[in-house]
């Protein structure tokens, strides 16, 4: 990891608790104003503190803009209600539809944005170790981290195979049947060779004492600090105050 930002230094599970609370609050609150005018700016501000304003905003928009646009279109145009907000030629935008779309998209932005911020500011290896310290099996850690390394390697190899096949004259362009046929020889050699390697990989992992049943230790230093307790505690208190205010008053 390069230089860690303010939020990156917080214990992964602390952030997870905060993110869950933000998301829950947004769902319980329900008004789109809360999601759009409080949660989203708050998330962006936190990203700014971390020094990731640009990359985070880009990711948030990139991940959710298409979905949310379509929600507005589908709800706005095809809501069964009668009250019409605007009329353009033969298209009429329904008021109830837009309101429901605003509500739904604000929750999506709040929830999705919180999750994105969490991953943007959390080293996945740290997260897995934190979970493992909580009692999760090291097998889960292995599967998760191994997958994260495997995906880019697989993608890289499939590109190489596709180029090789083009060079050998297998067509990858043309009508749809030709393109479907190209799919199979691109993916299968990769799959078969990876699966055949599993036997040797088992030997490798056992030679590294993977199956030994002891309490595992970690190279990374990852400790819950006082600040983490303060953060968890104060966000829980705020959340309880919010619940009381919302339901009891």
């Amino acid at each position: 990891m390069n230089k860690k930002g303010v939020i990156s230094r917080i214990y992964p599970l602390t952030k997870l608790v905060v993110v869950l609370i933000i998301a829950l609050t947004a769902i319980i609150w329900g008004d789109y104003q809360f999601g759009y005018f409080i949660v989203v700016p708050l998330l962006i501000f936190l990203a700014f503190l971390e020094g990731k304003f640009v990359s985070y905003t880009k990711k948030m928009i990139g991940a959710m803009i298409i979905m949310c646009t379509f929600i507005f279109i589908i709800k706005g145009l095809f809501d069964p209600s009668d009250q019409i907000l605007w009329n353009f030629a033969f298209i009429s935008v329904k008021k109830a539809g837009i309101e429901s779309a605003l509500r739904l998209t604000s929750i999506i932005f709040a929830l999705g944005g919180s999750i994105l911020l969490f991953f943007e500011t959390t080293d996945l290896e740290d997260l897995m170790i934190a979970l493992q310290k909580m009692g999760m099996s090291h097998v889960s850690t292995f599967i998760f981290l191994s997958t994260l390394q495997m995906i880019p390697q697989f993608a890289q190899k499939s590109k190489v195979i596709m180029q090789a096949q083009r060079a050998r004259g297998i067509e990858t362009e043309g009508n749809i049947l030709i393109r479907i046929k190209a799919f199979f020889p691109t993916l299968t050699p990769l799959i078969i060779s990876s699966i055949s390697d599993i036997e040797d990989k088992v030997v490798t992992m056992e030679a590294r004492a993977f199956s030994v049943e002891v309490k595992k230790t970690y190279m990374q230093i990852l400790d819950i600090k006082l600040l983490d307790y303060i953060i968890i505690f104060s966000s829980l208190i705020l959340f309880v105050i919010f619940l009381v205010w919302r339901y009891l008053i």
Binding site: H138, D197, V203, A207, A209
Partner: protein, 281 residues
């Protein structure tokens, strides 16, 4: 004391028609360096898997016989005990990575994490092994960026850091260039100096003659030679099993065939050769 003992081992792979190995028995003393040779497909790798317990625990099939590690039946040993007792390195350098670590240093330490070794000790041992194996230049590299030779050395380091007394090394250099091969053998030389018990499968016969105390030759499911290196690797019969002889041994044999001289003995290493031929100069 015996580090390893194999008694009457016979094995057949699940879908094979015939046995790969039949009635194999031998033992290896502590600190001994034994090379296993034989032509491709003769069952050397299978034997390594038997010695490490992967057969019959992982590969099914028909297995009979007994394997003892440090005079204890391998069947009664846990995965952890075996992992600490025997280090295992095999030929393909590209598979022998955990695939979850981002630096060579962490990769090498992974086995210690799995053994639950204290962080301080873990760092100390990893530092030491990287120093001993002259690999400090690689410590911060991503395992995926390494060449085959570098990966093979990392694989060795990852196993040696766990400090096993016995090492099974199956064709470590078969996919490496001469330079990387030399570096791997430098490590093996170091292990010999440290009095580790070593079982090495290798085709590079000149290197074997230089390092191994003993040679076991397998052919057609059975052990056909099991004796001191300087006795096996000078015997013309070895050639008939598809195994080469060291250059100096061939020189000695040819010399006797083409002259009337009889050598005191056929040399298998260079220093012996010099001694033997000195008197004719």
């Amino acid at each position: 004391m015996k580090a390893l003992e194999v008694r009457n081992v016979t094995y057949k792979y699940p879908i094979a028609r015939t046995n790969v190995l039949e009635n194999i028995s031998f033992s290896v003393n502590k600190g001994e360096f034994v090379a296993i040779v034989g032509k491709n497909g003769c069952g050397k790798t299978t034997l390594c898997n038997i010695l490490r317990g992967f057969i019959p625990s992982f590969h099914q099939g028909k297995f009979a016989g007994t394997v003892l590690i440090n005079e204890k039946n391998i069947k009664q040993m846990s995965m952890g005990e075996i992992a600490v007792a025997i280090g295992f390195v095999f030929q393909n350098p590209f598979i022998q990575v955990s695939g979850i670590k981002h630096s060579v240093f962490n990769e090498v330490a992974y086995g210690l994490e799995n053994l639950g070794i204290d962080r301080e000790e873990m760092i100390g041992r990893t530092e030491q092994i990287l120093k001993d194996l002259k690999m400090n230049d690689l410590r911060d590299k991503h395992p995926v960026e390494l060449s085959g030779g570098q990966r093979q050395r990392v694989a060795l380091a990852s196993v040696l850091v766990m400090d096993p007394d016995i090492l099974i090394i199956d064709e470590p250099t078969s996919q490496l260039d001469p330079q990387s091969t030399e570096k791997v053998f430098e490590i093996i030389r170091l292990l010999k100096e440290r009095n580790k018990t070593i079982i090495l499968v290798e085709h590079k016969i000149d290197l074997i003659s230089e390092y191994a105390d003993r040679v076991i030759l397998i052919d057609d499911k059975r052990i056909v030679f099991d004796d001191l290196t300087q006795k096996v690797l000078v015997n013309k019969k070895v050639l008939s099993y598809g195994v080469n002889l060291p250059q100096v041994a061939k020189l000695g044999i040819k010399f006797e065939e083409q002259t009337d001289f009889r050598l005191d003995y056929i040399p298998s290493v260079l220093t012996d050769a010099i001694n033997v031929f000195k008197k004719y100069v």
